[in-house]
């Protein structure tokens, strides 16, 4: 448009018409969108397939007998995984007893006493430990416990799982404690509360629900682990209440049944897997509900 009296700025607008976006570019855009949707479908497919098969193949085999009996000898139908379920609980109990206090303690160290070089070292080591393959942890626990005691045990399994829990719990505890505003700590100091009391009763208390979430995440992660138990707890076809014997665990049982040649055991492996998932989800949900219940209105 040539300059006129009505629009002197028009001289700056060149005589160019902008072409519409080419067909190729538009098609590419639509194709990539379709490709992305396709990838989502492909990724969700195995998820649904796994859960579907778990339920389909496992639900029929979960009955009272399965939950209360020990495995029958090879070839005989029936029997269950009661000892494995209990064994898993025992091993996880030991692991939590060892791992949770140490993990939370390390987390408290990192957030309250570790804002310095030493804390950075611990933080770095924590992250390194998180990446160690679980089977290697099993080797370490083997050397630490099994070789000393000259037998497999639930303790060895618990130690292996505790080693896996500690770095995770330490990092999540640290992050949750750092979220507590400094003003809250200062309020406690101002009242003449000593530092240790402030850290435990005020800072940790304020971050409780977050810390517990972190602990449950670590718990859920190790609850399904098999590799570190292979040569620590080792597995057992029978009830075992002694601390100096190998112990059954749900994940171990699933593994040995799955690779066995017996259909009967395959069936039970599916049931065991379903029970494992239900127990893990159940434990996490139960703790979440308990934490929410204990919180005040408006807090």
């Amino acid at each position: 448009m040539p300059a006129t009296n009505s629009n002197p700025a028009a001289v700056l607008i060149p005589e160019v018409s902008v072409p519409p976006i080419s067909l190729r570019r538009r098609v590419t855009d639509h194709v990539m969108t379709a490709v992305s949707v396709l990838t989502v479908a492909l990724v969700l497919l195995p998820l649904f397939a796994i859960f579907a098969y778990l339920v389909y193949k496992g639900i029929g085999s979960i009955n009272l007998a399965f939950l209360t009996q020990t495995p029958k000898p090879v070839g005989e139908p029936g029997g269950g995984m009661a000892n494995a379920i209990v064994g898993s609980m025992v091993i996880l109990g030991i692991a939590s007893l060892l791992g949770v206090p140490l993990g939370i303690g390390a987390g408290i160290f990192l957030s309250e006493y570790g804002r310095n070089r030493y804390g950075d070292i611990v933080r770095f080591v924590s992250d390194v430990l998180n990446g160690v393959p679980s089977i290697v942890i099993g080797i370490v626990a083997y050397g630490l416990v099994v070789m000393r005691q000259k037998h497999f045990s639930a303790l060895a399994g618990g130690v292996a799982l505790a080693i896996m829990m500690i770095p995770t719990i330490a990092r999540t505890t640290e992050q949750m404690l750092l979220l507590v505003p400094q003003a809250i700590r200062e309020a406690a100091y101002g009242l003449g509360v000593s530092r240790w009391r402030t850290t435990l009763s005020i800072t940790l208390r304020t971050a409780t629900s977050g810390v517990i979430t972190g602990v449950m995440l670590a718990f859920a992660r190790v609850a399904g682990e098999t590799a570190p138990l292979l040569f620590t707890a080792f597995g057992n076809q029978f009830w075992n209440w002694k601390t100096d014997q190998p112990t059954a665990a749900l994940s171990l049982q699933i593994f040995s049944y799955a690779i066995s040649p017996f259909d009967e055991w395959h069936r039970q492996a599916w049931a065991g897997a379903l029970v494992l998932i239900i127990l893990i989800v159940g434990a996490v949900a139960a703790v979440r509900i308990a934490v929410r219940h204990g919180t005040l209105a408006g807090a």
Binding site: R115, I184, A187, A188, G190, G192, V193, T206, A297, G298
Partner: protein, 252 residues
């Protein structure tokens, strides 16, 4: 009854930076003393030196002497023990979010090992009354959390919490700066009454507040205390030109 505070040759440092230069002051017992001055002049640092809160910042350091009554703050008393005799109210109300109103007020006692239930009830009752909050919360003491109150109520809760430990001195670091005028008025009224029982040091950037509430005022500038006198004198006939410039609004 409150006690007086004697500060002699106080110098405070944040790592290498010096924040307070040779401050000398005598705070009278059972009166309110206001500390005024522009932002960054060191008045907050000063008040935090009185109950050793300054030390909670890493690499912070103090030289000089502070005595509260006949208690030497920096020689011989542990910080924890000192802070039970000196209460503090902060700029932004900071009630403990996971605790009920009752537990918030009783926190200073319970966390220090005091367990007698009847006496705790009594102390909570008296403290909440002293901070003019009792009527508003008496039905929700155990059910509502400290964080569910309004801003002004939270600050009065913090005051009650500080009073429950039965300090002799009450330090207030800009207690009303985060509050609306009505809450501010209520708290100023409170301070006026609390003076009978406690020695109050209040930091404020609001000169009118100092005039309303405090008998004595100290003017801080760039880490030094320029003038300390009766409030009336500071605001009507200051001795130092810099004080005069500040109170007449030539700089802020």
């Amino acid at each position: 009854m409150g006690v007086g505070i004697t500060v002699e040759h106080l110098n405070a440092f944040y790592a290498k930076t010096q924040a307070l230069f040779d401050v000398n002051i005598i705070v009278a017992a059972n009166h309110a003393t206001a500390l005024i001055g522009p932002s960054g002049c060191g008045k907050s640092t000063f008040i935090r030196c009185l109950n050793r809160m300054h030390e909670t910042i890493p690499e912070a350091r103090v030289e000089g002497s502070v005595r509260i009554g006949d208690l030497s703050v920096y020689n011989g008393t542990s910080a924890t023990q000192l802070r039970r005799r000196v209460g503090m109210v902060f700029q932004k109300p900071n009630p403990f979010p996971t605790m009920s109103i009752y537990d918030n007020v009783a926190a200073g006692l319970k966390l220090n090992g005091f367990r007698n239930r009847k006496q705790l009830d009594e102390v909570v009752h008296k403290s909440l009354q002293a901070s003019a909050l009792w009527d508003e919360v008496k039905d929700h003491l155990h059910k509502k959390s400290g964080a569910s109150l309004s801003g002004g109520q939270q600050q009065r809760l913090c005051i009650a919490r500080a009073l429950a430990v039965q300090p002799e001195v009450l330090l207030m670091d800009e207690p009303c700066s985060a509050l609306d005028p009505i809450s501010t008025g209520k708290i100023e009224e409170l301070i006026f009454q609390l003076k009978e029982q406690y020695t109050i040091v209040i930091v404020t950037h609001n000169m009118q507040q100092a005039a309303r509430v405090a008998e004595f005022t100290g003017f801080f500038l760039l880490g030094k205390m320029i003038e300390f006198d009766k409030t009336e004198k500071i605001f009507t006939n200051p001795s130092d030109k810099r004080t005069e410039d500040y109170v007449t609004g030539r700089f802020g």
